[in-house]
């Protein structure tokens, strides 16, 4: 796979080899990686062992105190719970609705351009726009949805101020905003299903439903797993839309763990404690990744 030209001379660990062209090519990336990822990772770990503050005082080493405090911090657990809850609440519709959209569009019905625009365009909106728009849509009295509910005789919903509804409202906004991404992934997968499978089914006299269940869906099972995995990892990192739409409220009932890091670190000045929580969150992400990796591996076999 490498060109013979660059083959190393056995055993020769010369300066020339250390500064080989390959390393020079990789160097800019490696420097960025070291300065803006590895170093901050180390610094974050160090900060989590100190009481570093946004204010001017000098930090001092406090061992694992931040971690002990975090494990007993009910608000942190609550925020972690919200993150997991949001992930559960958003992943299923984000995969299912995307699949539904892709199946319908893939039928080749007229208006392809319009369908793709309708479903994917929201994804291109900056989150600032999405949040302004949905705050307006969810307004009591003036907002579109409450007016529509009124018009069909259902009562208004306190979308963003009722603790039992707010998280669902956020999930709904997220569905509208990002489903187009999964939709495109599904569409690409659908277009790669070979025609001859369908043609064979048609010869066998299979109806539309049969073709869906026995050809299309089985062919999509693999991409479905991949999309679900990516979606779970993405949903776990939620912050933007929650922060911009509800600020984590009402009564912190939608605050995800990333916002808790922000609140503790920047609003509460406790950068050290925020770093510790960041690492606990990191552990959760790694755990989720590992679990999914294991699941995928088992599937592959």
């Amino acid at each position: 796979m490498s060109s013979p030209h660059a083959a190393p001379r056995p055993g020769a660990l010369s300066a020339r080899r250390l500064l080989s062209p390959g390393l020079l090519f990789a160097l800019p990336f490696l420097v960025l990686l070291a300065v803006f990822m590895l170093w901050p990772l180390g610094q974050g770990l160090w900060m989590s062992l100190t009481d570093t503050s946004l204010s001017a005082h000098a930090p001092s080493f406090i061992g694992l105190d931040n971690f002990t405090e975090a494990l007993g911090d009910a608000e942190m657990w609550r925020a972690l719970g919200h993150t997991v809850w949001f992930t559960a609440l958003s992943t299923v519709p984000l995969v299912a609705v995307a699949l539904g959209m892709a199946l319908l569009v893939h039928t080749g019905l007229p208006g392809q351009w319009v369908w793709r625009l309708a479903f994917f365009a929201p994804y291109l909106l900056p989150v600032g726009v999405v949040s302004l728009l949905w705050i307006w849509l969810y307004q009591p009295d003036l907002g579109l949805y409450n007016n529509l509910l009124d018009a069909v005789g259902l009562g208004q919903v306190a979308w963003l101020s009722d603790e039992s509804v707010a998280m669902s409202a956020i999930a709904l906004t997220t569905l509208w905003w990002t489903v187009g991404f999964n939709f495109l992934l599904y569409l690409a997968a659908l277009q790669s299903i070979p025609d001859h499978l369908y043609e064979a089914a048609a010869i066998d006299g299979a109806g539309a439903w049969r073709r869906l269940w026995s050809i299309t869906l089985p062919q999509l099972s693999r991409i479905t797993v991949v999309i679900t995995v990516l979606q779970i990892l993405a949903s776990l990192k939620v912050f933007d839309q929650v922060y911009l739409i509800t600020k984590g409220g009402p009564n912190n009932s939608t605050r995800p763990v990333v916002e808790y890091v922000y609140d503790v670190g920047f609003t509460g000045y406790r950068l050290g404690y925020a770093s510790a929580i960041s690492y606990i969150f990191f552990a959760l992400v790694i755990l989720a990744s590992a679990a999914q990796y294991a699941a995928l591996r088992r599937r592959e076999k």
Binding site: P21, F25, A26, F29, M37, L142, A188, L230, V258
Partner: protein
């Protein structure tokens, strides 16, 4: 890291450890063909039903944007009229747009967003392509180890780095500068991974020929491999650009000077001295949404391809 890793928004981000070969499939993607007879059969009812379902869904999805447009063209008075909530009783007006534009900050934020996203894209794609080339085509001490490190780095969510990044920029005295916003976004291990895979898939014959002509690594990279990779580079660039354009968390943390803010940060942080003005709010949302949506209308195929190629993180 990050620009590419759109995770701040909850959409899937690329991850290389996921098996599958959709990228290859996507490359084979042809222009959409009418496949109705294949999936739906020839029944008329099925077609009509499917079309109706599609139309309803598209309507539901377009409704919020239509509502924003409608509000943006109302007067403030009509926008906050709970009785005539749908159509304005005093007709449509452009005043919302003109007052937003006259304030002058929206164009500034657009410019900031554009400069920052462009810089992130150029740096990320160039640096990642070079690293991808190094990992794919050369041998050097520690190559395997460094590549493994790169793959592992994909797992690090940028969200956990905001605190140390902030501290880092603080000690470098770079907070509230373009450099602080741009640099951390340029570390994109996923892109290195994707481009390495891509270079692996290119045939060696052409560079062999170039090498015989005495070309060095740089010339092979620049004049042979990159031109061969144009579609891939375009896909990756579009993906990185969209990610940077829409990135919120880090620009939000690293800037507090309104003159430096990007679009998503500016329109949500800086307020109007005259209070809630829904028509103006929607007018600024519409203006802020416009650039990418218009670009999408013109380059739909490229963007769709970019997402399906890059979105799975090179499988």
């Amino acid at each position: 890291m990050t620009s590419t890793d759109l995770p701040v928004r909850s959409a899937p981000s690329p991850a290389p450890h996921v098996p599958g070969s959709v990228r290859a499939l996507a490359d084979r993607r042809r222009a959409p063909r009418p496949r109705a007879h294949l999936t739906l059969g020839d029944g008329r009812t099925a077609r009509v039903l499917a079309l109706a379902a599609l139309a309803v869904m598209a309507l539901v999805w377009l409704l919020p944007m239509a509502w924003a447009l409608l509000t943006a063209f109302k007067s403030e008075q009509d926008a906050s009229d709970p009785v005539h909530w749908f159509l304005p009783s005093h007709g449509f007006t452009l005043r919302g747009f003109s007052s937003v534009w006259e304030r002058g900050d929206l164009p500034l934020w657009m410019l900031n967003s554009f400069l920052i996203s462009a810089a992130v894209t150029v740096i990320t794609v160039l640096v990642s392509a070079m690293a991808g080339y190094a990992f794919s085509r050369t041998l050097f001490a520690g190559r395997r180890w460094l590549f493994a490190l790169t793959v592992a780095a994909v797992l690090v969510p940028p969200q956990i780095l905001i605190v140390p990044w902030f501290q880092q920029m603080l000690s470098l005295g770079l907070l509230d500068t373009y450099a602080a916003v741009i640099l951390p976004q340029t570390v994109a291990p996923v892109m290195v991974f994707i481009l390495k895979k891509h270079f692996d898939s290119l045939p060696h014959e052409l560079e062999e020929a170039a090498r015989i002509d005495g070309a060095g690594h740089w010339r092979i990279f620049w004049s042979v491999l990159l031109p061969l990779s144009r579609p891939m580079l375009a896909a990756v660039s579009i993906f990185v650009f969209i990610g940077a354009w829409n990135n919120f968390l880090w620009p939000f943390i690293s800037t507090s000077d309104p003159a430096l803010m990007t679009l998503p940060v500016g329109i949500t942080s800086v307020k109007d001295a005259y209070g809630i003005q829904y028509a103006q709010s929607m007018a600024s949302a519409v203006l802020a949404a416009l650039p990418l949506v218009v670009v999408f209308m013109f380059f739909q195929r490229h963007i769709v391809k970019s997402v399906s190629t890059t979105g799975l993180g090179g499988q």
